[in-house]
Amino acid sequence: MIARAIAIASLALVACDLDRSQEPADARAAADAHVRPPDAPIGSPDAQEVPDAQPDAMPLPTDADQDGHIAEQDCDDHDPLVWLSLPYGYRDVDGDAYFVASSGTLCTGGTLPAGYASTAWSIDCDDTDPAIFTLRNGYVDADGDHYGDGAIVTLCTNGILPAGYAYSAGDCAPSDDTRWIDRAYDYRDVDGDKATVVESGTICSGDALPAGYTITAGPLDCNDHDPSVYALLTIYADQDHDGFGAGAASQLCALAPPTGYSKYKTDCDDADVTRWALLAYVGVDLDGDGVTAKATGTLCTAGALPPPYSATLTGNDCNDGDPSLTHYEVLYPDPDGNGIGSPPRAVMCIGASIPAGYSPYGWDGSVPDDDLDDLTIY
């Protein structure tokens, strides 16, 4: 194509020369002096266009930079690398691949160079700094606990909020990096004794509720300002100061009852310091023979049953007024003195010995032992 254009131009020149052949020679020479030499650059003094001696002469198409684009179609005929003027709508001056809106035209080599674009997908919030390019919303985080405070601010960033800013707002303690969020509590333990009082609310906290606040109930604290006490003590008046009280109960938040009071209400005689425990007995041993007779009741004591009272039975004293008689014995009259008695029996209250004329055995004159043989045990 280029060769054909040159050929056409040559033919035109020949035609012009044929017309000019009729001119005087001096006139043609004067005109040729203003024709730009083929190798003269555009704009050079030598290249200044001089009005043709013949107004109807056709100018020759030129391609000074020899880039294949004639000067009339070359946006810069002095630069062989560019020839086509293209519009652009965006610039990326800092080269971070994020653009700002900026429109114009640029003489190009066919495509827009780096830093120019007709369309842009990523908008640069600061095209003077390649390190920041995208907007982020955040809050001032003065204490660096990742929770900010105050009004929302928009920052040009590299995608991450810089130090001193946080994505989340609502720092309940903007100047304390150990607390940033309100947490709910249901109980208080001010004195730290693990016993709690019911109190609910919220408290500015860190990862967990601060000491003294909890959502878990402990034993009920009757005094949350004294770690030495937490339990209500039920006490009773102790008039005789024997350590055991009686009467109506009252309650006190204390470790131990005060003087004149006891946590025990079992004093059976609160006017007698020597007795305080009501004990049950099931037997007595009035004669002191070591064998008890059945008798039940209760006795106000000093902690143990005194003689002759006993909480357990020892034997069954048939005569508790005579120490020589200790138990009942089934005896049989033994008139012949052979050691074996015979009915009728007698139940006698005796001591250690069998009365004369009696035997504990009662089969004298009964069936012989052999007669028991048929009582087979199976």
Binding site: Y332, P360, Y361, W363, S366, I377
Partner: protein, 104 residues
């Protein structure tokens, strides 16, 4: 005589027969009467240490067990003072009977 038996037997005999508590042993100084009815055994006599007769009622596992007990009671009844017949209300609701020769 019966004093030579284990002390717990003496204590057990003092318990009211009306309250046949589990683990309680009733030792008879004499056996006066025996009644067996199916699995039930009624023994009347003087419990050791007592002065008046009592009746102990036991429901055994079956009639065979009742027969074993009433034979032991019969032996004790035949030779007053020679044997100590005892009935024990074992833990678990079972009854046992025993016959022990009294050391002379």
């Amino acid at each position: 005589m019966l004093k030579r038996l284990a002390p717990f037997l003496v204590i057990a005999a003092l318990v009211s027969p009306a309250h046949a508590a589990a683990g309680t042993t009733y030792t008879f100084a004499t056996v006066d009467s025996i009644k067996a009815y199916e699995k039930n055994l009624y023994v009347t006599g003087i419990l050791d240490g007592n002065s008046t007769p009592s009746t102990i009622t036991a429901t055994l596992t079956d009639s065979t067990a009742a027969e074993r007990c009433d034979r032991l009671a019969l032996i004790a009844m035949s030779k007053p003072g020679k044997y100590a017949f005892a009935m024990t209300n074992e833990w678990g609701g079972y009854w046992s009977c025993s016959l022990t020769a009294v050391v002379q």
